[in-house]
């Protein structure tokens, strides 16, 4: 196959590219330039977007003996990932930009351009597995057809199936994750060292790549401007002030700037962000607990979509490194001309705390990813809805 290896300049994507070469593919390395003014992006050794990272990727490609190009996807990145990030916070929701980057950049802009240029697949350094299984084919009685499934990495600490699930089945057909079989990051680093890749000891990146110094609130303030408003409790009593409701996230405890302690002395959390009234609602932890989730823009992998109206038992995960919890899930049809279909989730075990609109929810059956959607609303079935989105 002709494989485009997305090379961030980090160790994972370098080893992934190396393994694609080993597998006998014709591999070309591509580094994505995601910022017009690259000085604004994080520099130093932790990034995926700085000029040093582009140089590291080039060096790795040289060592592997593969061609290397830089593709300028900065305009697309600004128009999708950064714009979504700002719009979501502005709407009182909590976006995950890494999910959006996979959705719009890696497995859309990059993948589509690669396909148009004649590549068969894009390889990335994500920790996830693709499993192809034969299932009965209803259109050919007695026959089978192959189904491509996305699974968790055996390296549970690094598993990235959560941020990949958004790609859906059509994209998965053209994606390969050569690190899928690695059980630990140390193994990947050892593999890099063995191959003489100088990025073998490069630190991991954690922060949002376009937010300098990890200061999300500062970034939002700079891009959205100050919009002072009130912090209130669930009854509407004013407890303090804020510089912009957009900077708060449901479940957040720190940085609330409330001068009066709660009467019972317990900590207070953000329960709701109401952009229309520019208000932030705070309250005790138990009001954060939810057991129902409604999510939109759902994608289902091949053969994973529940029959219309049927509830299926599964597990759901609402954070990149959160634990999966048991739930029953069903698909919800969207209006024919309206927004995409969604899903309804009823937690069957302990409730979840601090589920914010905008978060990605991923549905699993064991290690297999069934589908993904974006949270619109989370509430407690027993009581009136508490934590809601912008509505």
């Amino acid at each position: 196959m002709r494989v485009l290896a997305a090379m961030s300049g980090g160790v994972d994507s370098a080893v992934a590219a190396a393994l694609a070469v080993d597998a006998g593919h014709e591999v070309v390395g591509v580094h994505m330039a995601l910022s017009r003014n690259r000085d604004q992006f994080r520099t130093g050794s932790r990034g995926c977007c700085s000029i040093e990272d582009a140089g590291d990727a080039r060096r790795a490609a040289d060592v592997l003996g593969i061609p290397y190009y830089v593709w300028d996807l900065s305009e697309r990145f600004e128009d999708t990932v950064v714009a979504d990030f700002l719009a979501e916070y502005e709407a009182g929701r909590t976006p995950n930009p890494c999910v959006r980057c996979n959705e719009h950049i890696k497995f859309e802009a990059l993948l589509d351009k690669a396909t148009a240029l004649g590549f068969d697949a894009v390889a990335t350094g994500h920790y996830a597995r693709v499993v192809t299984r034969d299932v009965p084919d209803p259109s050919a009685p007695g026959g089978t057809r192959p189904v491509r499934e996305l699974h968790r990495s055996p390296n549970t600490a690094k598993d990235q199936s959560y941020v990949l699930a958004v790609m859906g089945p059509e994209r998965l057909a053209r994606a390969i994750f050569p690190l899928g079989g690695f059980a630990s990051k140390d193994e990947v680093r050892a593999e890099a060292a063995r191959r003489g890749l100088s990025v073998s000891a490069k630190p991991d990146s954690y922060d949002i790549c376009f937010v300098a110094d990890g200061d999300t609130q500062g970034f939002l303030r700079e891009r959205l401007g100050a919009r002072p408003g009130e912090i209130v409790d669930a009854e509407g009593a004013v407890l303090g002030e804020h510089d912009g409701a957009y900077a708060f996230t449901v479940g957040q405890r720190k940085g609330l700037r409330i001068d009066r302690p709660a009467p019972d002395g317990r900590p207070r959390y953000v329960l709701d962000v109401q952009p229309a009234r520019n208000r932030v609602v705070v309250g005790p932890a138990e009001l954060l607990s939810v057991d129902r989730v409604e999510a939109g823009a759902a994608v289902w992998f091949d053969g994973a979509r529940p029959a219309p109206g049927a509830w299926v038992d599964a597990e759901v995960q609402v954070r990149a490194h959160g634990a999966p919890v048991p739930a029953r899930v069903r698909a919800v049809e969207g209006a024919p001309e309206g927004p995409a279909q969604g899903m309804e989730i009823a937690l069957t075990g302990a409730p979840l705390r601090g589920v914010a609109a905008g978060q990605s929810v991923v549905v699993y059956d064991g290690t297999r990813v069934l589908g993904q959607a974006t949270v619109d609303r989370a509430y407690r079935a027993a009581a009136a809805p508490t934590a809601t989105g912008a509505g």
Binding site: V28, R38, P67, Y68, V70, A87, H104, T374, D376
Partner: protein, 436 residues
């Protein structure tokens, strides 16, 4: 030392047709190398001189026998370069390449002229100069109080002489220097250097010209040009990388940029690189001696290339002047392919064994829309789909055929890829529409 030992005869000019048959190990034999404006293959004669000189010891500034031998090598190369370019040997200042020579010209002339008269702050350059001229000029504006005057160009990339005339009429006393390249490195346009000199000279304004792309392709005579300073570079004409020269009149007011041992009449300190300089001298002599013959060779290939691209690729637009000896470098062809991105085209051609260039500078590997094309009035979107094909003495009809075979499919594919990666501004709205 072996200073009296006769050297092998690298200065004996070879016929370029012999050179054509040489297989160059650095370029896969199967690939068509169409990027001579980026760098040229080292000529066998220059290589022989270079390798021979590498085995000799001696600092040209040393006074003992070894030093004297190295000095002789350097001075013979200086005479060779001067003779080939219509200059006097004392006018040749060796540098570590074209970029350094351009920096010396822009900064050195600015400081030199301003020292004499502090009003002289204006650096007048064409908008299509190489970055080695533009960037020092802008640096001087940021750090040394210079003022930049960018001369516009017409749609072919030719500098607007009326603008220069007006600038001189209004600010003659404030102009430190004028710099207009001999030939453009991207689109090959020959600039009216003689007219520029005619306008500036009556006012005593020094004129510099970057002739890096011109030497060996068109006649270049420093004395006849009336220039005060002129940049040349080794690896653009069959010599090694890392050596070049600023040819400068003895009375050009050049303040040194590199300070140290005082070599090169105090204008450019640094130990003279005798092997590179000797090879450079051989290459300049060779390329100038064979210029006419080579120019006819590459012009014929280039004309076939241009005709072939126009015939086979719908929508291809030739940038720069219609090919003619008086208007354009013989080895240059430059096209825009609207709707295609240059980096896609480069990849597709490279994988088909054709090596070309977008012609413009990269920032961390990202091809930027060319300032040359933008100055010529090419829309930014079209400028992103630019490719330069530059031919040299070793180019063959097969190289052109190979390009013409690969290009139509590459352009079609790159256009499809351009559509695939075009910004989709609706993506965000459709997803969060329900919640905002």
């Amino acid at each position: 030392m072996s200073s009296t030992k006769p050297r092998p005869g690298p200065r004996a000019a070879r016929r370029f047709v012999d050179w054509v048959t040489v297989t160059l190990p650095s370029v896969p034999a199967a690939a068509a190398y169409l990027d001579h404006a980026a760098t040229t293959p080292l000529s066998p004669a220059a290589r022989e001189a270079f390798v021979d000189e590498l085995s000799r010891t001696g600092n040209p500034s040393s006074l003992h026998a070894a030093g004297r031998a190295a000095r002789r090598t350097v001075e013979e190369a200086r005479e060779s370069v001067a003779a080939a370019l219509g200059a006097r040997p004392s006018e040749v200042v060796f540098t570590a390449g074209g970029t350094e020579a351009d920096n010396l010209a822009v900064k050195g002339l600015f400081w030199g002229r301003r020292t004499t008269d502090p009003r002289r702050r204006r650096i007048v350059v064409s908008a299509v100069e190489h970055h080695a001229v533009l960037d020092p000029a802008f640096w001087m504006a940021e750090h040394a109080g210079a003022e930049i005057v960018l001369l516009p160009v017409d749609g072919d990339g030719r500098v607007d002489l009326a603008a220069l005339r007006a600038e001189i009429a209004e600010h003659a006393d404030e102009i430190a220097l004028v710099s207009v390249m001999w030939a453009n490195n991207e689109v090959g346009t020959l600039q009216p250097v003689a007219e520029v000199v005619q306008l500036a000279r009556p006012h005593g304004i020094p004129v510099h010209s970057d002739a890096v792309q011109a030497v060996g392709q068109v006649p270049v005579d420093f004395a006849a040009s009336g220039l005060d300073a002129m940049t040349i570079s080794g690896h653009k004409l069959g010599g090694p990388v890392g050596v070049g020269a600023l040819v400068a009149r003895r009375d050009a007011p050049l303040t040194p940029v590199l300070h140290g041992g005082g070599q090169e009449r105090g204008v450019r300190s640094g130990t003279l690189d005798a092997p590179a300089i000797r090879a450079f001298g051989v290459a300049v002599a060779e390329t100038v001696a064979q210029r006419e013959e080579r120019a006819a060779h590459v012009a014929a290939l280039r004309d076939a290339l241009v005709a072939g691209v126009r015939e086979r690729v719908p929508g291809a637009v030739l940038s720069g002047p219609e090919p003619a000896p008086a208007t354009r470098l013989p080895g240059n062809a430059h096209f825009t392919f609207p709707g295609a991105e240059g980096d896609s085209l480069l990849y597709l051609l490279d994988s088909a064994g054709v090596q070309a260039s977008t012609g413009s500078a990269c920032q961390a590997g990202v091809p930027q829309p060319s300032h040359v094309l933008l100055a010529m009035g090419v829309p930014e979107h079209d400028a992103r789909g630019a490719l330069r094909f530059s031919l040299g003495a070793t180019s063959t009809p097969d190289d052109v055929a190979r390009l013409l075979d690969a290009l139509p499919a590459a352009v079609e594919r790159a256009r499809a890829a351009g559509l695939a990666s075009a910004p989709a501004r609706t993506a965000v709205a459709s997803r969060t529409g329900g919640a905002a």
